[in-house]
Each structure stands twice: as structure tokens, then as C-alpha cells.
């Protein structure tokens, strides 16, 4: 369960909110001129960030207002909450994508993953 801090109401359980997908996807200003590929980019393509992801939430069981959250999709840590229309810079450390900067030496990777807790679905 995430705890999310609504900019108006403060910290509440995730169950009070609804997720609204990736933030800052701007509706094209010139729809008549868009190619099919450009429409596909707007409608379907998503960043799907592993790391800090900017996304929209709505406080549906509270003030019913939309706002933005920057959340680390690996740790679920919420890095920043800000209002619609804003787009603050995030702390440098929060924006690096773990998947790409990680250059773990082979041995370390093995050591980390070997004592795997096997998850078993029956």
C-alpha cells in the first residue's frame, strides 16, 4: 500500500486515490497534421520507466483533484508530489535509471542473486 501526500489534503492511503498513468503527455496542438505514427506515439507509446516515473493521480475519495507524483517504480519511494501544470526538476540522484547505470561486476551479480528465495506459484 502506497501512502500518497495529496497537495491539498495531506497524506492518505493509496485506496483513496486512482492512478492516471504517465504524466506530461501533452495533447497535440495540430491534430489535423499528425501522421499515424505521431498519433500512435501520443496515444499508445509510454516511457514505462524503471526508476523515477512522473505520473498522475487523482484523489477520488477526497478532494477529487488531479496532481502529479514522481515515484521510484523499483522501490516505490515517492520523490516528489506537485500540482498539475508544474514540472519541477527532480534531485539529480533520483533521476538516474538504475537499469542503465548499474555496471555490477559479474561476480557481485552472481553473489547477489544466487541465494534466491524461490517463489513458487502452485
Amino acid at each position: 500500500m502506497l501512502y500518497i501526500k495529496c497537495p491539498w489534503c495531506g497524506e492518505r492511503d493509496e485506496t483513496e486515490y486512482h492512478y492516471g498513468g504517465e504524466a506530461h503527455i501533452v495533447r497535440p496542438e495540430n491534430p489535423d497534421e499528425l501522421t499515424d505514427a505521431e498519433w500512435a506515439e501520443y496515444v499508445f507509446m509510454r516511457t514505462n520507466t524503471k526508476g523515477v516515473h512522473r505520473e498522475r493521480w487523482v484523489h477520488s475519495d477526497g478532494c477529487r483533484r488531479w496532481f502529479n507524483v514522481a515515484r521510484n517504480t523499483v522501490t516505490n519511494e515517492i520523490v516528489s508530489v506537485y500540482k498539475t501544470g508544474e514540472k519541477p526538476d527532480l534531485p539529480e540522484a533520483a533521476t538516474t535509471k538504475p537499469a542503465q547505470v548499474k555496471k555490477a561486476p559479474a561476480k557481485k551479480a552472481v553473489a547477489k542473486k544466487a541465494p534466491a528465495k524461490k517463489k513458487e506459484g502452485a
Binding site: T15, Y19, G21, T47, N48, A114, A116, K119
Partner: protein
């Protein structure tokens, strides 16, 4: 490869089962392969198997960052069925179903495929209409499907609550008798063993961290064990597809979400089929060990943490209780999550990419286990011929540009 049989079982019994050979090697990566497959889940391993078996391409590596079968393959609720609505999906999943029906023999490995019947419940008039339409569509495609009314549902699964007083009364169900479950780990192990026997290298604990690309053509992969050259590279990395595709600058319509499942303490047999309900969000079967295996819908947000929120599980158990009041005192033993790669039309992407010799198999979301043999079979064809098979041609990335989506939200629902 030493084959499993009644004789090998008896022979090994004499030495207290201490002398069974290893089922696959753990080789060091070679400097170069004809094909490198990223991800040793069921899909990646099946692809390697059919590349070797059907196309004679054996200089193949399957590279896995964890242990083989440790992704969604080892975390799913193992429901197998082929009763999808549209011709494209119906034919695709039915091809997989036919491969399932002979898989244990094919692999000489018991994947415990159990055709116990899968029921999809309908709880309102919309569900009923959609379900009957799907039964008819399935029959037209030669896929077995039946419509059951509420009494017939009760007859097929006696512990189900069909009271008219419940919040979402059961109004009927579709039934696919050939559907059922399989042993997920065995599927990965069986394909790994078969592929290894034909010369495929399965390399575990090796993470792909970059792709080597020149002139719009893929040349190999950069891994935690060093660079490996490859004539062709094929993604089969489920929840991490966007991360790997990003290494080639490719954008996809995929979003990764946590999907959770849980099992109860083992108990005596109470349910001998699979019951799924999209409207009340739960699906249940019972494992051979006696555990109730249950799953629900995805967590709403994008996530790579392999764990979800507790309230999703609470909702799912409330739904299970409504359908099966009998479960009220059952204790749950453990829960877990996987990262599923969802696509906007609830159909997968299997085909070529804008980068030459780089292929993608992804977007299976919450329901790709059932497709494992068929996806591997079609994907191997696509890689070997550099051209999709007729069965997977409709599942290209291009469909999101042309608009030829294969909308299976009705058949896929929350579930599988």
C-alpha cells in the same frame, strides 16, 4: 540426455536416486552466437528449443539475469485456455493449446498438463451477451466452448455459490473443457533440458545491460559477463521489455505492472476445475498439493518491484469469499508478485522491430503462460526466417500505427 522412463526410474531407484545426471549444463558464454535470446523464461526457452528443433539453428544462447524460470514463468497461476474472441487470437492460442496437448511427450518431461476445464463466469447481462458471443466465435474457429446456465455451473463446480441474493449473482459461464493448468516450473525446465540437449547454451546470472547496434542492425549484447556478438538478438524479457528496448532506442506501447497471486494452506480436494470471474476479480484452482491458487487483477500503477499492495489481495479474497463461502476459514500461506508487461489491446507483440535482426516477444501481460509453447514456436519461425509466421503476423508493433488492434479485453479481462 538420459531419457525419463519407467526403466530409468527403476534403474535409478536401485542407487537411491543419487546418480541422476544434471539436466542442463551451466556453460560460460561463447564470444559469438547465431542467435542470442534475452530472458530464460518459458517463452525464451521454448523459442530456443524450436529454433534448434524446427529450424536446425543450434548456435544459440539464452541469457538470463536471474535463474531460469524465475520470472513470471515461475510466478503465475498456470491457467491454460484458448477461448479468445477474435480469429487472430483464437487461432494463435489454439495452436499453443495443440502443442500443450502433446508437450510432455514432446519434451519427455512431465509438465503435468491437466485439462480439468476452465469456467469464465458471467454476473450481469453484459457479461452473458459477451460470453455467448465468444462461445459462438470460438465454435466457428473450431475451438471447444460451451455456455452453461447457473444450474449447470453449480453442477460442474458444486462448491460455487449461485444464490440470487449475492451481490453479483452467477448468471452462467463459458466452459472450455480442454483448458486447465500445467506445472509452470516443469515447462521451463523441460524446454531448458530439451534445448540444452540440442546444443543451446542457457546462461544464468548474466544480465543484458546494453545492445551493440551499428547501421541500424543489431550486432550483439553487452552483459554483466562481457560482450557477446550475435547475428540476431531476440527479446523475451516480459516485464523488462521496455528497459531492454530502450537500449535500442525503441519505444513500445507497454507498461509494466505488479501482478500478485497467493496460495492457501494445502487442503483436501474441493475444486477440480478452474473458475475465473472478471466481474468480481478472482480466479481459483487447486494444486495437486491441495493449495488453493488464486490471483487477481494488476496493481494500478507502473511498477518493477515484484510486489504489490495489500488491498489488492484483500479485494481478491473478498471476491473469492463471495463465490466460495466455504473458503472462509482457509488460511493463506504465501503471496508474491511478478512484473507483467501489459499492452493497450490486451494482446501481445511478437515480431520484428525497427532495428534489423532484433526481435520482440512481449506484451503478454497477465496471460502469457498459456501461450508459452505457441509463442516459442511462432517466435522461432520469425527469427529463423526474418519474417513472422501467419499466426503471429497480426501481432506486430505496427498495429498501433495502422490501428489494426486485436482487442481482447473481453476475453483477457482482469485475468488469464
Amino acid at each position: 540426455m538420459s531419457r525419463f522412463s519407467i526403466f530409468s526410474l527403476a534403474r535409478n531407484a536401485m542407487s537411491w536416486h543419487q546418480n541422476w545426471p544434471r539436466q542442463w549444463r551451466s556453460p560460460d558464454p561463447k564470444p559469438e552466437y547465431d542467435v542470442v535470446i534475452i530472458g530464460a523464461g518459458g517463452h525464451g526457452l521454448a523459442t530456443a528449443y524450436y529454433l534448434a528443433k524446427e529450424h536446425g539453428i543450434t548456435n544459440v544462447a539464452v541469457i538470463e539475469k536471474g535463474w531460469l524460470g524465475g520470472g513470471n514463468t515461475g510466478r503465475n497461476t498456470t491457467i491454460v485456455r484458448s477461448n479468445y474472441l477474435w480469429d487472430e487470437s483464437g487461432l494463435f492460442y489454439e495452436n499453443a493449446m495443440k502443442l500443450w496437448e502433446n508437450l510432455s511427450q514432446e519434451l519427455n518431461y512431465n509438465v503435468m498438463f491437466s485439462q480439468r476445464g476452465v469456467m469464465n463466469l458471467a454476473h450481469n447481462l453484459g457479461d452473458v451477451r459477451e460470453s455467448i458471443r465468444r462461445v459462438n466465435a470460438n465454435n466457428l474457429n473450431g475451438i471447444d466452448a460451451e455456455w452453461l446456465n447457473a444450474e449447470q455451473v453449480k453442477e460442474f463446480c458444486p462448491i460455487i455459490n449461485i444464490s440470487k441474493d449475492s451481490r453479483y449473482p452467477v448468471m452462467g459461464a463459458t466452459l472450455q473443457r480442454r483448458g486447465g493448468t500445467a506445472r509452470h516450473d516443469a515447462v521451463a525446465w523441460g524446454y531448458a533440458r530439451g534445448a540444452d540437449d540440442m546444443g543451446v547454451d542457457v546462461i544464468q546470472n548474466c544480465e543484458v545491460q546494453g545492445l551493440m547496434i551499428g547501421n541500424g542492425t543489431v550486432k550483439g549484447v553487452r552483459t554483466s559477463l562481457g560482450d557477446i556478438k550475435a547475428k540476431k538478438v531476440a527479446m523475451a524479457c516480459a516485464g523488462h521489455t521496455s528497459v531492454v528496448a530502450d537500449m535500442a532506442g525503441i519505444r513500445l506501447p507497454i507498461e509494466s505492472h505488479p501482478l500478485q497471486a497467493l496460495v492457501s494452506e494445502p487442503m483436501k480436494p474441493v475444486i477440480d476445475c478452474v473458475v475465473m470471474s472478471n466481474a468480481v476479480h478472482v480466479y481459483v484452482s487447486q494444486s495437486d498439493k491441495g493449495e488453493l491458487v488464486m490471483g487477481a487483477g494488476i496493481d494500478a500503477y507502473v511498477g518493477y518491484s515484484q510486489r504489490g499492495s495489500l488491498h489488492v489481495i484483500e479485494d481478491q479474497l473478498a471476491s473469492a469469499m463471495e463465490l466460495f463461502p466455504l473458503f472462509s476459514r482457509t488460511r493463506m500461506m504465501r503471496s508474491w508478485g511478478g512484473i507483467v508487461d501489459t499492452c493497450p489491446d490486451a494482446s501481445p507483440i511478437v515480431g520484428k522491430t525497427p532495428v534489423k535482426n532484433l526481435y520482440v516477444n512481449a506484451g503478454w501481460g497477465t496471460g502469457g503462460f498459456k501461450a508459452t509453447p505457441g509463442a516459442g514456436w511462432c517466435y522461432a519461425h520469425t527469427i529463423a526466417k526474418d519474417e513472422p509466421h501467419d499466426l503471429n503476423a497480426p501481432f506486430s508493433i505496427d498495429r498501433f500505427i495502422t490501428g489494426a488492434l486485436v482487442d481482447e479485453h473481453g476475453a483477457a479481462g482482469v485475468a488469464h
